[in-house]
Amino acid sequence: MKIYTILKSLFLTTTFFFLVVNGVSAIDFPTKPINLVVCFAAGGSTDIIVRAITDRMSEKMGVPVVLVNKPGSGGLIGGEFVAKSKPDGYNVLVLSLAHICRQVIDPKMPFDVVKDFEPICLYVGQPIFIIVNGDSKFKTIEDLIDFAKKNPGKLSLGSAGIGATSHFSLELMKAATKINFKHVPFAGEGPAITAVMGGHIDGMAAGLGAFLGKALSGDLKALVTFDDQRVPELKDVPTFKEKGYPEAYMYSWFSFAAPAGTPKEIIEKLDNGFRAAIKDPASEAAIKKLYFRELYMGHGEFKPFVKSELEKFDKIAKSAGITVK
């Protein structure tokens, strides 16, 4: 009898012990590699800017941080994958403005950026510009705006596609300057830039990294930036703010987010680890080399930022009537 009681209590204790230990797994996090899901193809700008720090992230987190490309549908495939994965911190999404832009135009999105994700931290941003052909008759942004005002609907401006951040940039400019132009969507930034270089469209909105080489050679010209300060690589290019259109302010940003319901301790660990990786001097150098700006914002600040971006772009989408319903 006595032995039976001892065995029973031993069994119960060990079971209890294992149950408790499993529940407190946040203390051991991370114990296996972390998947960093990039929603775009390898070699693209999102992919490259994240690859620049994965090595340091692995260092600081103590486990390999593996970049996984899940391209397709402008970010939906990768986003859905992480949204539906276990909130244990081992699947992290590279959440970007592109996801927000998609959500405000598509009511049937398989996930919600605010509800289905717990943001970890903001990583980098890249300024967006209005660019034209190097030989274009528009030498300044005023030239462009004047022409558009005198000839409504004549200007043709390209973007990387319906609902892309560049499309939203154009709409933001339209709302701020009250001009009218033809929007020509292309299948990505590359084809649109090619069309501007060939003089087939009057201009487009594009991120710095995509066109800088061609701007420096004179094949393209940047007229204005949507950022709130001039960019060192193109210091002669004014901002919309300087030109009297402070509402035309946005930049393309990239961040890290975990599925909603991920325990607070795990989010904190990820935030701390990622911050250390981002602030590392080697990372800062790599980010600069790629023409991005380091914009680290911790979990506390970043979470409301995501919400405010969602509201801001929702307003733009509604007033411009952009929807894919």
Binding site: G43, I77, P185, D219
Partner: protein, 500 residues
């Protein structure tokens, strides 16, 4: 003459032992990737891209470029041996290449594919060395209206792909166009025919379609037949092309080279279209067009040369203007950016060693590939001797791996199976697959170019005729259509005159 100096300088970089090693690794991996059906150079380059971070940009480009054109060499192998295209550009090689293999002429087919690719690759690199900047500028003149007209020409060329009744080919092309509608519309952003499946938002992928239509269906079709493979009787009549083959192939190789090169320069799918276009051209100029589809070596020599020289051409916009012409070039662009180089017109001027080092390494790579591939022909031909009960499951397995490795999606595998069944039915009722594939590729491009042009030019359809390049393509399409009608008209005239 300054170019010659740069070329010599480039060779000194390309022949550096370190770069030779990278070149070899690249072409070797590329050939393997090309041989394995489904897994294309895009996947391999994406995988290897991060590891190039630690080496110099020139070496990185040399290796990645090697993978790309190596894959083009290897892609023909499975097309010829087992009727599975290694990637989309090798689809056309299946048509006559596989027939040749069935007639015991796999060796000459593989041989002419290798030699044709070598000649085309080398010539395209020579053209690239001397003509890069002006050609790039020419490519820039292609805007939406020019692409539209080029697509019209491409779709017209469909007629020549048909080896059977035209009506059936047109039906398949129409089906291809309809399938091309599936996906998110570029101009409005709305999803068309996706039925809520988000994997369809980017359209029906070309890889599952091609793997299914060619690979899976071939397996199903053959499994149905009871075939006795007599090991001794496998009439491998010679491993290398004979004199007759060379005579027949010389023209196609040269025509294919130039056609492929110029199509490859155009951003947006040059390499794939070039192989189809070459096939059509060879059929048109051939004195025996009825031989096509039954194992005409011209149908292998032309397209294989075209798709290899298209790879050379596709580097031009990237290296001279910083514009990627297709997915692989976009990755190369990424590799340059990763190394802090700004791709654009200044790259050639500020970093000539990158440009010339890469270009000259392509000469070297082509030689390496020829040396690698020729002896392997004997080995590949042995694959045909594997008994079907073992070969076919292996083929299916490779198709599955290929599709899954590219997309990570089970839905794409289902599509492949669906198209496999369709392909089997098509084979039974003798409908052709090449027109469907070409229409599937060209259809969306045609529609997007048309609508973009109409937006830019305020709905004025005359723009296609007022712009010279566009008008040129449209006139060529009309002429092409008219020449197919000529025999019919001659026949009618005869009838009329006899009736009097």
């Amino acid at each position: 003459m300054e170019t010659l100096g740069s070329i010599l300088n480039g060779f000194s970089i390309a022949l550096h032992p370190v770069n030779l090693v990278f070149c070899f690794v690249g072409v070797f991996v590329g050939t393997l990737i090309g041989v394995l059906p489904g897994i294309g150079p895009l996947g391999a380059i994406a995988l290897l891209l991060p590891s190039t971070f630690y080496i110099s940009p020139t070496s990185a480009l040399i290796m990645l470029a090697g993978i790309y054109y190596g894959a083009m060499y290897g892609g023909s192998t499975t097309s010829i041996l087992v009727n599975i295209p290694g990637e989309a550009a090798s689809v056309v090689t299946c048509i006559d290449g596989y027939q040749m293999a069935k007639q015991g002429r796999a060796g000459p087919a593989l041989g002419i594919a290798a030699f044709g690719s070598f000649i085309a690759g080398t010539i395209s690199v020579i053209l690239l060395s001397f003509l890069a900047p002006p050609l790039a500028r020419l490519a820039l003149r292609f805007g939406p209206p020019e692409y539209f007209s080029l697509m019209v020409l491409g779709l017209t060329v469909l007629i020549y792909l048909a080896n059977g009744p035209i009506v059936k080919a047109l039906m398949m092309a129409a089906l291809g166009l309809v399938l091309g509608i599936v996906g998110t519309d570029l101009i409005t952003g709305r999803a068309r025919f996706t039925f809520g499946i988000i994997e369809l938002n980017d359209g029906i992928g070309i890889i599952p379609v091609v793997m299914g239509l060619f690979g899976v269906s071939e397996v199903l079709f053959n499994v149905e037949k009871i075939m006795k493979r007599q090991v001794t009787k496998t009439t491998i009549s010679g491993l290398l092309p004979n004199l007759r083959d060379w005579k027949d192939s010389a023209g196609p190789i040269f025509r294919g080279t130039f056609l492929g090169f110029f199509l490859g320069i155009l951003p947006g799918g040059g390499a794939v279209i070039s192989s189809f276009a070459s096939y059509a051209v060879e059929k048109k100029v051939s004195k025996h067009p009825e031989k096509f589809g039954t194992g005409a070596i011209e149908g292998v020599a032309g397209p294989e040369s075209a798709n290899n020289s298209a790879t050379g051409g596709s580097f031009i916009p990237l290296l001279t203007l910083g514009i990627p012409t297709n997915g692989v070039m976009a990755l190369m662009l990424g590799a340059l950016v990763l190394h802090g180089l700004q791709p654009g017109p200044l790259l050639m001027r500020e970093h000539p060693e990158v440009f010339w080092g890469t270009v000259t390494s392509m000469y070297v790579g082509n030689v390496m590939l020829l040396v690698l591939n020729l002896p392997l022909i004997g080995l590949w031909v042995q694959v045909l001797k594997i008994p079907y009960p073992i070969l076919f499951p292996l083929i299916l397995l490779f198709c599955l791996i290929g599709v899954f490795s590219v997309s990570n999606s089970v839905i794409e595998i289902w599509f492949m199976i669906l198209f496999g069944i369709c392909g089997y039915l098509m084979k039974k009722f003798e409908y052709e697959m090449a027109p469907l594939v070409l229409a599937l590729i060209l259809g969306p491009m045609f529609e997007n170019a048309l609508r973009q042009s109409l937006i830019i030019f305020d709905g004025n359809p005359l723009v296609f005729l007022t712009r010279p390049i566009s008008a040129g393509f449209l006139i060529a399409s009309c002429l092409l259509l008219l020449t197919t009608l000529l025999p019919w008209m001659k026949g009618k005239r005869k009838l009329l005159s006899e009736g009097d």
